[in-house]
Symmetry: C2
Subunit: 206 residues, 2 copies
DNA sequence: TCAATAGTGGGGCAGTTGACCCAGTGCACA
DNA sequence: TGTGCACTGGGTCAACTGCCCCACTATTGA
């Protein structure tokens, strides 16, 4: 009988739930499945959480937080003094897209889980705002990355960066789904090339 | 006791199931809910279908077929003799994107259902190939539309049209999700502008 | 006209689900 | 050291799920 503070159990259960959702899907993420994954008893679950729904809220919050930090830190490091080689906007975009694609293919199940959780949130009035917050964060992250890319390449965007950001997020979402469906790596690689071209066309040298 | 041939019941059940999935989600599409929606008894369900899974297969097949015919017929009619006004590639793309966006906002629940069903298929080994077929069809539909757009505007694509098609499908998928999440019509309108610009940049006058 | 058959309906079954209860147990703090 | 309480485990519950059974009935076609 290992005694664990309720707060610790909460986070352990959230992590276990994420594994279950990734491996088997939201529908199979029953309290029992989660509890088994975490190696706990059912009672511990309901001691830590009032209900399964409460866990789901926490789970979505958790993945949103993680996703935000997962892609961002790998963003290109900006030259402090600007004396380094200047990459073209297209090159920077292409590299960023590659990082994202690697992130996805590095853990496909996680990405599948993210999409499922978004859909799940979209079905529940109480959770909908979490999905909205998730996408607001995506958009601002993308805007930030695009700002950096423009600065690094000495370019300016021909549209408000927020609009380009929405384009970028839509693109990454879409290519994620397409890849999850057909796992066509070579098609995706070419898609990244095309994407970099088309997005880069939205900027011009300053 | 209205007697209905099993084949008719099958399609009635499939249509009822689609309504239930759209309104309440895949998880709530229980045999009882579907049967209630169709106004039948539970026994009729299992007379028409061996199992719920069999219905889901049929349902996915059905929506894939429908989706294909839903967007295509609205595609721009090509000038038979080519003497008409030539629209720019960008204009044609923008108009096509608008049609798609209208299609989505015209029936948001349907689109949500499509996405959920794709995810559902992605979770089942037996259904996965249906999702693959679905996206193959999307891609070829997009390629066809892009070909037409290029011809109509007297342009050529700088990349193989299949690659641009994958970009277009990714884009539409992504913007659908974003809109389903935040329902931001003005952001979407601007996104369509930006998208048309960036995709049009992948073509040049022939 | 009358059997064979396609289709119907209600009741029921076993398995799974989320949630709960409560007697017990180890830990922290006095 | 002891006492209060956070925490545990196992058993239980009602609701819901997909599926099945079987007596019954309308329809068909010989």
């Amino acid at each position: 009988m290992t005694r664990i503070p309720a707060a610790d159990r909460r986070s352990a259960l959230v992590r276990a739930a994420l594994r279950v959702v990734a491996d088997r899907g939201v529908a199979q993420a029953t309290t029992r499945a989660i509890v088994a994954e975490a190696g706990m008893s059912l009672a511990s679950f309901h001691y830590a959480f009032q209900s399964r729904d409460e866990l789901m809220v926490e789970l979505i919050r958790h993945v949103v937080d993680e996703e935000a930090t997962a892609v961002l830190p790998e963003a290109p490091i900006e030259d402090a003094d600007g004396r380094g080689e200047r990459e073209s906007l297209r090159q920077i975009l292409r590299a960023g897209l590659q990082r994202y694609a690697d992130h996805v293919s590095g853990d496909p199940l996680r990405e599948k889980a993210m999409l499922e959780l978004t859909q799940y949130a979209l079905r529940s009035p109480e959770l909908h705002h979490l999905a909205v917050a998730q996408y607001e964060r995506y958009h601002s992250l993308a805007a930030e990355a695009l700002d950096t890319a423009a600065r690094q390449s000495g370019s300016v965007w021909l549209h408000p960066v927020g609009e380009v950001a929405r384009l970028l997020v839509s693109l990454t979402d879409g290519l994620t789904i397409a890849w999850l469906v057909d796992r066509d790596d070579s098609a995706t690689a070419k898609l990244l090339d095309v994407t970099a071209d088309s997005v880069a066309a939205l900027g011009r040298p300053a």
